[in-house]
Subunit: 183 residues, 2 copies
Amino acid sequence: MPWMMTMMSTTFILMLTSKQETIVLGLDPGLADTGFAFLSKNNQVLTLLECGSIKTAKNLKLAERLLSLESAIKKLLVKHPVDLVSIEKLYFARNVTTGIDVAQARGVAMLTLAKEKKQILEFTPLQVKQTLTGSGAAQKRQVGLMVKTILKLKEVPKPDDAADAAALAICGAWFNQKLSLAQ
Amino acid sequence: MPWMMTMMSTTFILMLTSKQETIVLGLDPGLADTGFAFLSKNNQVLTLLECGSIKTAKNLKLAERLLSLESAIKKLLVKHPVDLVSIEKLYFARNVTTGIDVAQARGVAMLTLAKEKKQILEFTPLQVKQTLTGSGAAQKRQVGLMVKTILKLKEVPKPDDAADAAALAICGAWFNQKLSLAQ
């Protein structure tokens, strides 16, 4: 059966050319708090390596806060050899002033990732909700519970930014797998 | 007359400690176009050294555009030994999508300036209009004509972003002088 041979050889090539483990970083940028989550994807298993929130001091000037954010992202990228980054896409800011700060921080994050030549995927909050729960109307709590279930955690990651970043990382890992299989 | 002695010695100290020439950079950040203008301030005389617009290609990805913006700002800072930067302050974005892009570019500009340890002043478009024309309701054309007059130019600088940046630089130079005299 020639088609079976083809399938087998394709699988063999995929095994040879694809790295066993992929490290995905989920990033939810903000000026005061930037959520981050590093996942390892080994075969179909996702494991949370580290998550948390980068905070910048409110008493510092904007330029100093951006410097401190850049420095923290760089340190994390040294710690984890990231293959793929999944970052929140800004599509609308209800609070324009906060939105400006988030966007300035996001610009710095994107620049830092670009310098490290990381592959970047972008997802809107709606896409994240739909991917994890099947519904764009899902509450933050439901998304958090799905993160906990998928990553086999005892608790939903804290703070909220870290949980959001973990949800982004899961989206990135799943979407990247689809891309790989389609190639 | 002891007060005259004090005045004279203060003037002498100011002459000794203050550099003759100050270079001011006006920066009007954007993702597609970032206006810039370098002014020299020598005593009370402002001279335009260079102005223009940094453009990033629309067909590039956001991260690549931000890298290209950072690189262009760095090159300009090498060319002109800037003492002070005057940058547009974002306070409201009528077009939210454009506003997000402007803010991401502005974040990158602020980071780049902070790395070079430049002193930064921020002015809203309203403050720029009021400072140059005396009216916050002034049209762009009126601001441009004031730029032309103050800098003794034959024409209003082109493109618009460069003229806006020159207006910002004038504000920075004047405001900085007030600060120096008050010290």
